[in-house]
């Protein structure tokens, strides 16, 4: 919730004053870390953890740039945001040997394009972003992005979108089959026009309640993450996660070491803790996403492997990571986003 991030700014003052030994200040997504795991960390290490939350990568970046640096030790940005933050000089470098468990990182996530050699980050969770549909209220084919961007009349006013520019723009580009961050004026104009038309059918923009609005029946179609869809399904079993034929967004969230971290040593202890297969598996069991550490299979809830949210059907389009746009294209994206929300 945005207000939480606002209060985080106020808390920042308190956190600063209390940066003594045995503290750790984490800037994290909402609803993303089981309380039991935090307690386990606190008992094992004697470190007191304070968590503030944010609801989009962009909001986190804005808050850090508005004076949050030097307050938080670690944050959990998505893939493209790791690259942006590194470019902005907001990340500290983890030297070789500083993380005992670095070798636990699964080979396929050990050298990602957004953080070559994992010098700033460790994997946290990975998953996908598309949308979920209450199939009791809508019986048509759900595996198409038309449900968000060109919805049938019966769904008009029953759609919630994530309040996250990166994910909405990426999915919209997939819907139109144009490259992300296209600099082609015709394509950008068409993207703007398409979204302007689509937004007349949307009920709301909300990220942190994107699961709840589906469960409560406020909306029939809700853009959301696969793990949220799985949790929604557990509460209302007619909710189904869609894998659109046009494609969907894949992401990996990563724990990064922030520059000027007041408790740098504790931050590294925290990262090592999250690289233990048993611990990160507890996060997956709670959040219902995949993990990026080897040797965790035995700790994982067996349902996770067979969950429909984690297994795209054969008809599913390709999964695409969000791309980082250059400044000129980003300015147009910002304008399109502003048009969308007014």
């Amino acid at each position: 919730m945005k207000l939480l991030t606002t209060s985080a700014m106020a808390l920042a003052l308190l956190a600063n004053a209390a940066a003594a030994d045995g503290e750790l200040v984490v800037y994290h997504w909402f609803e993303y870390m089981p309380a039991e795991l935090l307690e386990k960390f606190e008992t094992e290490t004697g470190i007191d953890v304070t968590i503030d939350t944010y609801d989009s990568n962009e909001a986190m970046l804005a808050s850090l740039k508005a004076g949050g640096m030097g307050t938080y030790d670690v944050a959990v940005p998505g893939d493209y945001m790791v690259a942006i933050m590194a470019g902005e000089g907001l990340l500290d470098t983890i030297a070789d040997g500083e993380l005992t468990n670095k070798g636990n990182i699964a080979p396929e996530w050990a050298d990602p394009s957004f953080d070559p050699g994992r010098t700033h980050s460790i994997p946290y969770q990975w998953g996908s972003t598309a949308f979920a549909v209450d199939t009791a209220a809508y019986t048509g084919d759900i595996n198409t992005t038309d449900l968000l961007f060109n919805p049938p009349a019966e769904l008009s006013g029953k759609i919630n979108m994530l309040d996250s520019q990166g994910e909405v723009m990426a999915l919209a580009s997939l819907h139109m089959d144009i490259p992300q961050c296209s600099s082609d004026r015709g394509q950008l104009q068409a993207l703007n026009d398409m979204l302007q038309e689509a937004q007349t059918h949307w009920a709301s923009f909300n990220s942190d309640t994107s699961r709840e609005v589906l469960v409560s029946g406020d909306v029939t179609v809700g853009m959301t993450y696969d793990g949220f869809a799985a949790k929604a399904r557990a509460e209302r079993d007619t909710i189904k996660y869609a894998f659109p034929t046009q494609g969907y967004v894949v992401w990996m969230d990563n724990v990064v070491l922030l520059k000027d971290a007041p408790n740098r040593a504790n931050a590294l202890i925290f990262m090592d803790f999250l690289l233990e297969p048993e611990n990160i598996a507890a996060v997956s069991n709670y959040a219902r996403y995949g993990l990026g550490v080897s040797g965790a299979t035995e700790f994982l809830d067996p349902d996770l492997a067979t969950a429909p949210e984690a297994n795209p059907p054969a008809t599913a389009g390709k999964g695409a990571f969000i791309e980082v746009c250059d400044q000129e294209t980003q300015a147009v994206y910002d304008q399109i986003w502003t048009n969308l929300k007014n």
Binding site: A62, R185, S216, D218, Q327, Q330, V332, D334, K341
Partner: protein, 308 residues
């Protein structure tokens, strides 16, 4: 100042005359630190250049105000035309806040009148009832409102069960929901100042009016209303101004879709847009509007006092 003290003639005024500036110092400090300094920062930032991905570059620029008033198309190089996007956001905020003020006045005045006319001993109890919602955080009250209003929520269930409607009323994520949120949040701000005025009002004047064959309506219009006008104006300002800048209600009850000024500004600092100078410029425009409205009120007040 010595003349004032002498003409005032009281001993106390003389005693404190010399210490006057020192006694005022704490208020000036608080005002300076918490009001003037932040406004100056905002004013300066509104004339700086936007940095890519949030933040500012220390270069003077009119770009933020230009963006507010002129539309240069999707790519920023079209012929400038008047920017309707933000004007419509401001217009929506003004009529939402205005409507909330009128509704609060319609409900708040009778409520205040009711409380002020109770026996002296029980008034405190009624005032206490009005303030109870303030024991709960505004965020929580707004979220609760959302739970009440939603399509499958208690309000719709009640209306369907008593047979008033067949299909749920779609209120949540509309301007109506935002209006209800504003009205509900700020109603006590209307009740309390009006109550304070009516309580001081001498009801024998109403009796005198009745003795002179004034109808109840005439007495209300010609005697009571002029007497309690300062309270009504204070209440209207207290409801209108915070409603104008509200961002919780439009965010939670309006679905963050139909922006009001507060949400527009918030998005520039905390949200996806990351355009600080523009957020500062929008704040300055809002501040100017509020100050103008307050000045108009103050002038009318002075004129009314001069007349009487």
């Amino acid at each position: 100042m010595a003349g004032v003290a002498a003409s005032g003639g009281s001993v106390a005024a003389d005693t404190y005359a010399k210490a006057r500036h020192w006694l005022l110092a704490p208020s000036w400090l608080v005002l300076g630190f918490f009001v003037f300094a932040p406004v100056c920062v905002m004013l300066i930032y509104s004339f700086l250049t936007k940095e890519f991905r949030g933040g500012v570059i220390w270069e003077f620029s009119f770009a933020a105000y230009d963006q507010f008033f002129f539309d240069r198309g999707l790519f920023g190089d079209a012929e400038p035309t008047l920017q309707w996007t933000y004007i419509s956001v401001f217009w929506r905020s003004i009529w939402q806040a205005g409507l909330a003020t009128i509704l609060s006045l319609l409900i708040g005045f009778p409520t205040a009148y009711f409380i002020a006319t109770r026996p002296e001993g029980s008034r405190a109890f009624w005032v206490f009832l009005v303030t109870i919602p303030y024991w709960v955080n505004l965020l929580i009250r707004t979220v609760s409102m959302k739970f009440l209003l939603r399509d499958e929520g208690p309000l719709n269930e009640l209306l369907i069960n008593i047979g008033l409607i067949n299909d749920p009323l779609h209120i949540i994520y509309t301007n109506l929901a935002v209006q209800l949120g504003l009205f509900y949040s700020y109603l006590p701000f209307m009740v309390l100042p009006i109550y304070a005025s009516i309580e001081r009002y001498n009801f024998t004047m109403s009796e005198a009016a009745a003795d002179l064959y004034a109808t109840k309506w005439t007495a209300l219009r010609r005697i009571i209303l002029p007497a309690v006008k300062p309270g009504v104006i204070a209440g209207c300002i207290l409801v209108f101004v915070p409603s104008l800048g509200a961002f919780l209600a439009p965010d939670l009850l309006g679905g963050a879709k139909n922006f009001m000024i507060g949400s527009l500004i918030e998005e520039q600092f905390k949200g996806n847009a990351g355009n600080w100078p523009f957020g500062a410029a929008a704040s300055m425009v809002l501040l100017t509007m509020v100050v103008v409205i307050l000045l108009i009120f103050a002038r009318q007040q002075r004129r009314a006092e001069a007349q009487s």
